[in-house]
C-alpha cells in the first residue's frame, strides 16, 4: 500500500468495525475522498465484513434445545429426600413432626455413641482405691506367681 496516511491499515479496519472516535472517523473519510487506493481498501473492508456476516451458519437442531432444557430441569430438581419430606409435611403434619423428632433423636444417639466414654473420679477416691489394691495384692516371688500359670512351665532350676 502506497498511501502515507498514518496507520492506515489499522484505521481502515477500525472504521469498518465502528471503533474509530468521531474525529478520527471524519479525518479518514476526508482523506478517502482524495485517495482512490484508500477508498477502494475501505470499500473492500466493509464488503468483506458484510460478506462474513451473511455467511450462513446452520440453525441449532431442535433436539439440542430440548436436551438442554431437560438437563436444566434435572439440575434444578431438589434431592428426592427433600421432596418426600415436603410432601409429608403437607399431607400429614403430625407424622412429619414425629419423623422429625425421631430423626433428631437418632442423630443425637449417633453423636453420643461416637464419643468415647470418659469417667472422672475425684483424686482422694483414686488414691484410696490404689491403696486397697496394694494391700490386697501380696508381693509374691516370681516363681510362685508363674507356677500358677496354666501349661508346663517349670520355672528356673
Amino acid at each position: 500500500m502506497t498511501c502515507d496516511y498514518p496507520e492506515i491499515e489499522d484505521c481502515l479496519e477500525a472504521y469498518a468495525d465502528a471503533e474509530l472516535a468521531p474525529a478520527e472517523r471524519r479525518g479518514l473519510e476526508e482523506h478517502a475522498r482524495g485517495c482512490p487506493e484508500c477508498r477502494r481498501r475501505l470499500a473492500l473492508a466493509l464488503a468483506l465484513k458484510a460478506a462474513v456476516r451473511r455467511a450462513p451458519a446452520p440453525a441449532m437442531p431442535p433436539e439440542l434445545a430440548a436436551s438442554l432444557h431437560a438437563r436444566a430441569q434435572r439440575l434444578s430438581r431438589p434431592p428426592i429426600w427433600r421432596v418426600w419430606l415436603a410432601g409429608l409435611r403437607a399431607r400429614r403434619p403430625a407424622a412429619y413432626g414425629l419423623a422429625a423428632g425421631f430423626a433428631a433423636a437418632a442423630a443425637l444417639l449417633v453423636v453420643r455413641l461416637a464419643q468415647p466414654e470418659t469417667v472422672t473420679l475425684p483424686l482422694d477416691v483414686l488414691l484410696a482405691a490404689h491403696g486397697d489394691c496394694v494391700r490386697a495384692m501380696p508381693l509374691a516371688p516370681e516363681a510362685a506367681i508363674l507356677s500358677q500359670l496354666p501349661g508346663r512351665w517349670e520355672g528356673p532350676r
Binding site: 491499515e9 489499522d10 479496519e13 477500525a14 468495525d17 471503533e19 477502494r40 481498501r41 470499500a43 473492500l44 473492508a45 464488503a47 468483506l48 465484513k49 458484510a50 460478506a51 462474513v52 456476516r53 451473511r54 455467511a55 450462513p56 451458519a57 446452520p58 440453525a59 441449532m60 437442531p61 439440542l64 434445545a65 436436551s67 438442554l68 432444557h69 438437563r71 436444566a72 430441569q73 439440575l75 434444578s76
Partner: protein
C-alpha cells in the same frame, strides 16, 4: 431462570461452536458441555461481566482444551509473523482486489467466502464470528478472549488478511 438462559444464548452459542468445530456433531457436544459447565459453576460468575461473554469464553476454552488433548494441528499462533512470501503475493493480490470488491458488492462470492472461512484456522474463524457476525466490540472481544484490546485488533487484522488472501488466491485460480 435456566430455561430463559438457554432460550437467550443457545442459538448464538451453537452457531459460534459450529464455526469453531466445523461440524454439527462436535458443535452440539460442545454446547451441551458448555451449558453443564456454566450451570455447575454458577457461583463463579461475576455479574460485572456480560453473561453472553462468560458463556462464550467457557465454550471457547472447552474447545481449546479438547484440541490440546487430541489434536494440536489446528492451533496456530495468531501472533506469529506473516509468511515470508508475503511481499510477492501481496503485489499480485492487489491487482485482484478491484475484481473481488466488485463480486462482493454484487453478492456473487457468497460460496467462495464460505469456503475461504472454512479454510481458516479455528481461532481466526472464532474472532471473525465474534466481530462480524455477533457484532461484539473490541472491548467485549477482549473480555471473551481474555487478552488486551491491542491483541484483538492485531488478531482481527491477521484473520481478515488471511481471508482476503484466500479469496484473492481462489479468484486467481478461477480466472486463469
Amino acid at each position: 431462570m435456566l430455561d430463559r438462559f438457554i432460550a437467550d444464548y443457545s442459538e448464538k452459542g451453537y452457531q459460534f461452536a459450529f464455526r469453531l468445530c466445523g461440524n454439527a456433531e462436535e458443535a452440539r457436544e460442545l454446547v451441551q458441555e458448555t451449558f453443564v459447565r456454566v450451570m455447575s459453576k454458577w457461583d463463579q460468575y461475576d455479574p460485572a461481566q456480560s453473561l453472553e461473554g462468560y458463556f462464550i469464553s467457557i465454550l471457547r476454552n472447552l474447545y481449546y482444551d479438547g484440541l490440546r488433548r487430541f489434536d494440536r494441528r489446528n492451533l496456530c499462533s495468531l501472533d506469529a509473523p506473516p509468511e515470508a512470501d508475503g511481499a510477492a503475493l501481496s503485489d499480485r493480490l492487489a491487482d485482484g482486489e478491484e475484481a473481488l470488491l466488485d463480486r462482493l458488492e454484487r453478492r456473487e462470492a457468497e460460496e467462495q467466502v464460505q469456503t475461504a472461512l472454512k479454510g481458516l484456522a479455528a481461532e481466526q474463524r472464532a474472532i471473525l464470528e465474534l466481530s462480524d457476525v455477533q457484532g461484539l466490540s473490541y472491548d467485549q472481544i477482549a473480555a471473551v478472549l481474555d487478552c488486551p484490546v491491542g491483541t484483538v485488533r492485531s488478531r482481527l487484522s491477521r484473520a481478515r488478511r488471511a481471508l482476503r488472501e484466500k479469496l484473492l488466491t481462489s479468484s486467481e485460480v478461477v480466472n486463469r
